[in-house]
């Protein structure tokens, strides 16, 4: 499948792009992280500590083992600091 990946805050800075489209066989965000980290060390630097990461599938906060199904957009970012 083809999915848009979007990154925010220091995740974006470490990966070096704000948005990219990838073709993947990953079935969950955890799979995606493993696949990308194997491709390039930039992803390892951004995804190294999963406890410091959050993921949204199609703009809904999700878990790392939530099935991607037909997701169009997956976002990775640090814990939010609004308010």
């Amino acid at each position: 499948m083809t999915v848009d990946l979007v990154y925010f805050a220091w995740v974006r800075e470490r990966i070096g792009v704000a948005r990219e489209t990838v073709t993947t066989t990953a079935r969950t965000p955890a799979d995606l992280i493993a696949e990308l980290s194997a491709r390039d060390p930039r992803y390892g630097a951004a995804f190294g500590d999963v406890s410091a990461l959050r993921v949204a599938i199609d703009q809904e906060l999700s878990d790392f083992d939530t099935p991607l199904e037909n997701a169009k957009e997956v976002a990775f970012f640090p814990p939010m600091t609004g308010g």
Partner: protein, 146 residues
């Protein structure tokens, strides 16, 4: 119900008066305002990054949860993004209810959820560079109150 995600500053008092006038019949109005604070004495600006699309969706869901849970006449949420100066307003919420308990609890709830569930990230700009503001464990823990 006015929910706004915007780069521009806003006038908290004017927003509160408009909200109060519109919420006719409400006896209790609670507001919270967040102001850019310089804890270190070296901050030159605060930058807020957000996730366009998801931000509006998340804020709408949080407001709806509050309306489902408390008896509210109305809810106001304004949240800025972009580069903000020290002393400037970051965001505000206001709640209007018949009774003060509903207005207080709902405003407190909205703040806890906006803090940890609305996709904003803060970066401090200072004389010695920039740094991302870490989320606090206590902010995540605050959600368990509700």
């Amino acid at each position: 119900m006015r929910l706004s995600v915007q780069p521009d500053p806003f006038d908290m008092g004017a927003e509160l008066n408009r909200f109060t006038n519109d919420a006719s019949g409400a006896g209790a109005i609670v507001s919270f305002g967040g102001i850019v604070r310089d804890d270190t004495g070296t901050m030159t600006a605060l930058e807020l990054e957000h996730y366009p699309g998801m931000t509006e969706k998340a804020i709408g869901q949080i407001a709806q949860q509050a309306r489902d849970r408390w008896q509210l006449h109305d809810v106001l949420i304004i949240h800025r993004y972009g580069r903000l100066q020290v002393g400037a307003p970051i965001m505000m919420v206001a709640t209007a209810a018949r009774h003060r308990k509903d207005a207080f609890e709902a405003a407190d709830f909205l703040m806890d959820y906006l803090k940890s569930r609305a996709p904003f990230w803060k970066k401090e700009h200072g004389a010695e560079g920039t740094s991302w503001v870490d989320a606090k464990d206590s902010d995540e823990a605050a959600l368990n109150r509700w």
